[in-house]
Amino acid sequence: MSRFDWLSELLAQLEDEHVLVQHGDARLLAPAHTLDLDAEDWSSVARVAARFGCRWAGIWADTREEEFLIRACLVYRGDYLVLTTRIPLRQPVLTSHTPHFPGANRMERHLQDLFGIALSDHPDSRRWTRHRAWPEDRYPMRPDFPAGGEAPKRTPADSEYAFTRVLGNGVYQIPVGPVHAGIIEPGHFRFQAVGETVLRLEARLGYVHKGVEKIAVGRDAAGLARLAGRVSGDSTVGHTWAACMAMERAAGISVPPRALCIRAVLAERERVANHLGDIGAICNDVSFSFAQMQFSRLREDWLRTSHTVFGHRLLMDRIVPGGVTHPLTGQGIDALLLQNRALRSELDTLEPILDDDPSLEDRLVNTGVLSHADARLLGATGYVGKASGLDFDTRRDHRYAPYDRLDVISPCLQEGDVAARVQIRMEELRHTLTLLDTLLKQIPEGAAGVPWPGMTTGAEGIGMVEGWRGEIISHVRFDDNGRVARYFPRDPSWFSWPALELLIHGNIVPDFPVCNKSVNGSYSGHDL
């Protein structure tokens, strides 16, 4: 199947709807294709694309003199199509994609809060990322807004957000957060419950908004890679890789095969570490502490080896623009291979214990079910999508190097419950260990990186990788001096947070922790 063999069919359907595609480009953001559109066609394109079966994967803006350049990303059969339109800075109005792609809801409101772009036809007019750190009529991502803020004073608590109320006899609210009871990130959850049953859950995020997009501006390539590594600390490899991939495509440099292979080793090790931690934590949330102890032990072993071989337990800053920091010696390869074998044997013992435990089954099966239809509407990726019948994996379907020469197996289940999400992670652990073996045994000779070139043009690029949570997309544009002019990292959590609100529906309040952990959205990666 060749790339973009479906595009002519989509274009034909657009033509039937009298949508004028001004210009298509296969090189500007390669391997993605771009389509330039009139702003008035923005909504029609979304309608046709939704009917066509595209997944909506993000929207972001960029300022170009007197205009906003708006981009939305669609995915079909592992191909990326970036829609582009321009609207004037003086009157920035655009039609919303949310009526056709519900997963667009919050990212469009993020765009509205940070850029001051009004989205007409958006079903939800409330702010999202903005709390009270800046006034309603000011927009931090506009060039006239200083990165340091405009005389910032103490920021009051965000107390006036209008949560949707459920009315009825015996309905009550439970406000949770932003400071949670455990060692986790901050955010607010508003439950509307009757008895123990959750009628509605609404998340209020944005508490860890750190201005990532704004403070990225003006950085050099190495500085952006460091920042990308801290978009979401648990996905430091995934985000750094996506950002570096975008920068390298912008700069037109090719990364040596050895470096690509080591990047994949790092990414797969990050996947294993997080899956180990989360499987244990999910079991712990239903009081099966045996599994928590066993899996946190395995995770610690894994992190220690990462430290020994790569010099960092979480593998931060190991990927740099042009390559990787560690060339990986024969000794290191042996240590990693040995650990793969050890972990496989541990899983052989532990997996049947988890599979056969009746109380675990009782708590996890049919808990927190995300239907296939909902997962599809939201555009969930990673284990959340895979457990609900969405068979997509960036490594397998987009086939970026070095996965293009590997046999990536991606599990998929239909049940959509907590048990299915655990099962997907368990199977991913197995497949990842096999992938790691293959990668480590065929590491190509050569350099672990190339020097970063000086850049003179306003080049831009896009990067897509399969992080442990799912698909990560990054867009980077450089200015004329080779400094970053725009960085937008799109974490998969944008779509798994709304999924959590749907899958908790009808469950009991005490099952919220296990449902939440089974999805494990990133607050930091989402709040930016």
Binding site: H131, R132, A133, W134, P140, F145, P146, A147, G148, G149, E150, P152, R154, T155, P156, A157, D158, V179, A181, G182, I183, I184, E185, P186, G206, Y207, V208, H209, K210, G211, V212, K214, I215, R226, R230, V231, S232, G233, D234, T236, G277, F290, M293, Q294, S296, R297, R299, E300, L303, H307, R313, L314, M316, T349, L350, I353, D356, S522, S524, D527
Partner: protein
């Protein structure tokens, strides 16, 4: 059930008596920590962790303090769910402006004597994020800080050492 018992026996106690990789030694550190905790707080030290804007890297390593290798509870140190039960606030992240009020309120809710540990480079000096329209930077820009544990993120052993430093600092002041 038998398989669970067998696996438990097979694994044995992995909690580290000695940390050969580091001269400081987890156990020696732990014993010292326990003595200081006893002297200072009678029996135990209750920590309320507050993520005030971190990337979640610091939280992963704080979690690791509870894994069977480190088992921090054996030293009388436990993580509690409410600031009202806490002796220590362990704060991570640059303080995002959106968390500024929540952090202040958490600090006010913690009974005295209390002390605050800024954990991780961002909490110590703003780290990669610094001060911006969205970030207040270091924790000390928002609430008084007693001890700083640098690192991105600090490893579990760094955290234990930092806790010990915090207790010593506190003992020295009072």
């Amino acid at each position: 059930m038998f398989r669970i018992l067998k696996q438990g026996l097979r694994t044995g106690v992995v909690t580290e008596a000695v940390e050969p990789a580091d001269a400081a030694g987890l156990d020696r550190l732990g014993v010292e920590l326990r003595r200081t905790v006893h002297a200072r707080f009678g029996r135990s030290l209750a920590i309320r962790q507050v993520d005030a804007g971190s990337c979640n890297g610091c939280e992963l390593e704080i979690h690791a303090l509870n894994n069977p290798y480190h088992d921090i509870e054996r030293f009388g140190i436990s993580f509690v769910a409410s600031p009202r039960h806490a002796d220590v606030l362990l704060v991570t992240g640059p303080v995002s402006r959106h968390m500024e009020s929540a952090l202040r309120r958490t600090w006010r809710a913690t009974p005295s004597p209390k002390f605050v540990i800024a954990s991780g480079s961002c909490a110590c000096d703003g780290g990669e994020f610094g001060v911006s329209y969205a970030s207040c930077g270091a924790v000390e820009n928002v609430i008084p800080v007693d001890v700083k544990i640098p690192g991105c993120p600090p490893a579990p052993l760094d955290l234990l050492q930092g806790l010990l430093g915090a207790l010593r600092a506190q003992a020295g002041v009072k």
